[in-house]
Amino acid sequence: MSLLEVKNLRVEFPTRRGTLVALDDVSFAIAPGEVLGVVGESGAGKSMTGAAIIGLLEPPGRIAGGQILLEGRRIDNLPYEQMRRIRGREIGAIFQDPLTTLNPLYTVGRQLVETMTTHLPIGPGEARERAIGWLEQVGIPAARERIDSYPHEFSGGMRQRVVIALALCAEPKLIVADEPTTALDVSIQAQVIALLKRLAREKGTAMMLVTHDMGVIAETADRVAVMYAGRIAEIGPVREVVKHANHPYSQGLMASIPPLDRRVERLQQIEGAMPRLSAIPKGCAYNPRCPHAFDRCQTERPDLMPAGRTEAACWLHAEGSAR
């Protein structure tokens, strides 16, 4: 059974000029121990999906339809207090900026201990021992001495390790990581990715990894979902999506990444820009930029359908469609 199941999720933002649909009909599942990468341009809805799952949508955003199920139990309609218990205990969150995640007034140790005593049936003494263990596991040298340091006494890379320890310490089944390595330098980024991968494998933790960095996804994820204008354009095994994408948008996105191993005279680019939420085109949202668009794309919105070894929301892959 899937650990997390998102079914037809719809998130709306009521504004004075009408309701904006930020997420529309988003469905996917994550199995225990699996890493699902979520990619897309800014504004595509990837962070919004993560925020909806951990129940931290910023008002006035609200879930207007669909369900989120954790181990078969609905969590999208829980009261605040109940959701707060799930967050931390069952779902851990890692955000981009470690400085805003950590409380600057408390020592790192106190934040870890508090998280564990809140969510696990253990006392402060044992929690402190475990906190030291976690800091060692995430690769903080001299953890026993550094546990009583404040967040500002750590460097950026070390701080993000602390955040990871904090997300993991209550042993959640699912981690939602939103751009966990974006604020870090490449050499530190590599260390943090290796760490996340190892921990997911060892503890069997499932992870939803939101990032715009395809390199990170290629290294870390098992499956990947490509989002465009609030919907999933394509979802499938990471190798397939990276190498043999079936949706024209995923193809364009992959082709526009500058290659590291050679120089090209001209990078492939996708013409135009992603539409604003207030002006999403009729039919397939990608049709104005799509080199393969035909009549049906302009009138009818495609749902995910099997395409090669992935699923793509694209009429090119419909039964009996002219290709």
Binding site: E41, S42, S155, G157, M158, D185, V186, S187, I188, Q189, A190, Q191, I193, A194, H212, D213, M214, G215, V216, A218, E219, V238, R239, V242, G252, L253, M254, S256, I257, P258, P259, L260, D261, R262, R263, V264, R266, L267, Q268, Q269, I270, A273, M274
Partner: protein
Amino acid sequence: MTPMLETQDVARHFDVSRPLIQRLLAREGRRTLRAVDGVSFAIPKGSTLSLVGESGCGKSTVARLVVGLYPPTRGRVLFDGQDLAAARADRRQRSRMQMIFQDPYASLNPRWRVADIIAEPIRAFGLIEGRAAQMERVGELLTQVGLSPLDGQKYPHEFSGGQRQRISIARALSSNPEFLVCDEPTSALDVSVQAQILNLMKELQARLGLTYLFISHNLAVVRQVSDRIGVMYLGRLVELAPAETLFTTPRHPYTRALMEAIPDLEMTGRARTPVGGEVPSPISPPSGCAFHPRCPLANARCKAEAPRMLPAGEAQVACHAVEEGRAAA
């Protein structure tokens, strides 16, 4: 031919001491941050030199030094053979260099119309008289960067990040510069937009014969745009080489570590060895070679003696291990 820009052992130090009273109470001396500490390179006309490195390596400080936003603490910057300070005193010389910044949200005045933003350098340098003629030139510039002349009447908030960066480029081009300093021009953009901007910059270079100093932390981007690449670490160049040479035969252990660390699309499922440790503080850099605490090839000499830039094939490398032949190719 005289290079467009040359730096000779240029350095920039910042005083980061605590206030006098606190210093006296704590009995500590002044503290100096050596953001850039002796960097020499030359950029031939019409070519692109890129500087890469991690945050805090001093690459953005170099960008600011070469356009004169900071005066150097030591060394010289020559713009077209002329001392930079003298060149900047002359308006005509100053209009020959422009800068593009990383954040297109912060670098455009939100209260000005785009046409006025782009026309500002034209007016400041007194290049074109008369509003009608100025607006005609603005229209040309907007077309040149792939926007519509009508966009000049809009405000920056009406544009996406990529379009704003196009506006920044149009503004930089408005004084007909020959030399552009681009400080992470695509780091704030999505990849599909990044491709558009990089293509645009390459087209403009070919069409207008521009010289670029390109600052980036992204090696894949740098490979696409550069003729030569300098790798910086803690305020110094550790390797300077033609772009293709750097990628085919990286010599400095830090260059190799950087390349090894980049997550690559080809590496699906492959494990790799990350570089250990972090960039040390430039306030108290390690003795000798600044990279030695993280370097797999470090020995006693590396701890004691700072390496100098020495030729190695087509490249210049500052590394004792490379000099002594200890770094296997």
